[in-house]
């Protein structure tokens, strides 16, 4: 059951307090608003506080001053920054300090509640527009900085999922190599396709950490909750205006050629090309990575394993192509 969240609110005004309590209305919470705070006070109250909300004002001569205070008190991972406007300097400094969440004032109460809840539970939350602000990209599509937005989102996920260090970048590299050789009509190499590869697991942001980082095997229900991440991911990127290939990779990268995958149990070429191609790269990287529950296999063994499962888990043509691309082995061409 959700327990009470204790919040220390620094800066801000009555309107924000009303908004905050309303946002958390259904979660029991206690909001402390001190008149004036010194480092000593902060360190002393830290033990009784779950989340510190710091409201920064870009009109101040030094908007980040209160943030440095929370950092000195060692509270940065438990801090939610509520920033006024699209203030790039504050965003950069705040994220550089390793604060737990960054949200722009003007976000809906529910998003704020989500950020606070995530941080209270030890997670992180970066408002998508805020994350792109950091990388100087306010509109993912308009100014061609889709990759910056995608990287920011992907790195938000890495903070949460301890087993996947560097996985997104590695798998993207493999999948792009395969895309360059495959030249599928709906998976032509492009920045958008790369963004899709990088963001394939972004839906895991919505999966409880107790499931993501569980060292033992998952129960049936836990497994089914984990398997909703492609659906959640598609919803997370939907408002950002990414092209279709991005949504296809995110939603369908766990489908299988034989129709036994998820979430939509698509079969064969019903599965978008970008997702068919990506699932091969994804499996190779998973097999060659160190995981707590098994030993990694060599790259060559992983590719052979993919070929072994061609026509079952993987697109048979793409599996053979992967063998050629990654192991430089000739493809056995069928006689026409």
């Amino acid at each position: 059951m959700a327990r009470q969240i204790r919040i220390l609110l620094l800066g801000g005004d009555a309107a924000l307090w009303v908004g905050l309590s309303s946002a958390l209305g259904s979660r029991s919470s206690q909001i402390v608003v001190p008149k004036d705070v010194s480092l000593g006070d902060l360190a002393a109250t830290a033990r009784n506080i779950d989340v510190v909300c710091v409201v920064t004002n870009h009109a101040d001569s030094d908007p980040c001053a209160p943030l440095r205070l929370v950092r000195q008190a060692g509270l940065e991972r438990r801090t939610v920054v509520i920033a006024s406007g699209a203030d790039q300097r504050t965003a950069a400094e705040a994220l550089g300090m390793g604060i737990g969440a960054y949200i722009v004032r003007g976000s809906t109460p529910d998003r704020l509640a989500m950020a606070i809840t995530q941080v209270a539970e030890g997670g992180a939350f970066y408002d998508a527009p805020a994350a792109s602000v950091l990388h100087g990209a306010e509109d993912a599509q308009a100014n061609g900085s889709m990759m910056s937005a995608a990287r920011a989102l992907a790195s938000a996920l890495e903070l949460k999922d301890t087993y996947t260090g560097g996985h997104a970048e590695r798998v993207t590299h493999l999948a792009i190599r395969l895309a360059h050789s495959a030249l599928l009509e709906d998976a032509m190499p492009s920045e958008a396709l790369e963004a899709g590869f990088l963001l394939h697991d972004v839906g895991k942001i919505g999966i409880p950490e107790s499931i993501l980082n569980k060292p033992d095997s998952l129960s049936d229900t836990e497994r089914r909750v984990l398997n909703t991440h492609p659906i959640l991911g598609e919803r997370i990127v939907a408002p950002l205006g990414f092209p279709e290939c991005v949504r296809n990779v995110i939603r369908h990268h766990h489908e299988r050629w034989d129709g036994d995958g998820y979430p939509d149990k698509l079969k064969g070429e019903e599965i978008p090309g970008a997702a068919r191609l990506f699932s091969i790269a994804d499996s190779i990287d998973a097999m060659t990575s160190i995981r707590p529950y098994r030993m990694p296999v060599t790259f060559e063994e992983a590719v052979s394993e993919v070929v072994l499962h061609a026509g079952k888990q993987f697109d048979p043509d793409l599996a053979l192509l992967a063998q050629e691309v990654f192991l430089n082995a000739p493809i056995h061409l069928p006689v026409l």
């Binding site: 309303s22 946002a23 259904s26 836990e222 909703t228 659906i231 997370i236 979430p263």
Partner: protein, 152 residues
């Protein structure tokens, strides 16, 4: 309050939302059912012993607001916990739902893992406490609207 698992009906025309919310409730040890529109929800709620209902407001045929009005007319369902879902979060919308008798209002996108906690907390309250909380939230939302605030 009993020790039986809470029984929650998830009502949304979007099957993805039903799946995601339903699974997160199951993970929290609750029993769940699904309905794809307001009428289906009313039919299911009429039979069976439900503790709570998560109700999407925008649905084809009988929408959530209509269903909410009808189920509040059923005295047998007075103790049912109702959480409404919507894609917009204007205070006016929240006020409308809470006036009719919703206990909480969630705006999409919401954290699916948090829903079970919200439901459990509401179920654990007595009907009187629940109604008291609903009225105090209604006051706050009305205050927000008076201040002209649609967002935080």
């Amino acid at each position: 309050m009993t020790n039986d698992p809470a029984k929650v009906l998830v009502v949304d025309d979007d099957p993805d939302i039903r799946t995601i919310v339903g699974l997160n409730l199951t993970l929290a040890g609750m029993e769940t059912g699904e309905a794809a529109n307001g009428q289906e929800a009313l039919d299911q709620l009429a039979s069976g012993d439900w503790d709570a209902c998560i109700l999407d407001l925008a649905m084809p045929q009988t929408d959530g607001m209509t269903a909410l009005r009808q189920l509040r007319d059923e005295s047998r369902l007075n103790d049912l916990v109702v959480v409404v879902l919507s894609a917009t979060s204007t205070p006016a919308r929240a006020i409308e739902g809470m006036e009719i008798g919703a206990h909480a209002h969630l705006t999409k996108p919401f954290s699916p893992a948090a829903v079970a906690g919200i439901i459990q907390e509401l179920i654990d309250l007595s009907p009187d406490e629940r109604d008291k909380r609903r009225r105090s939230m209604l006051e706050r939302a009305t205050e927000m609207e008076r201040l002209g605030m649609t967002t935080v």
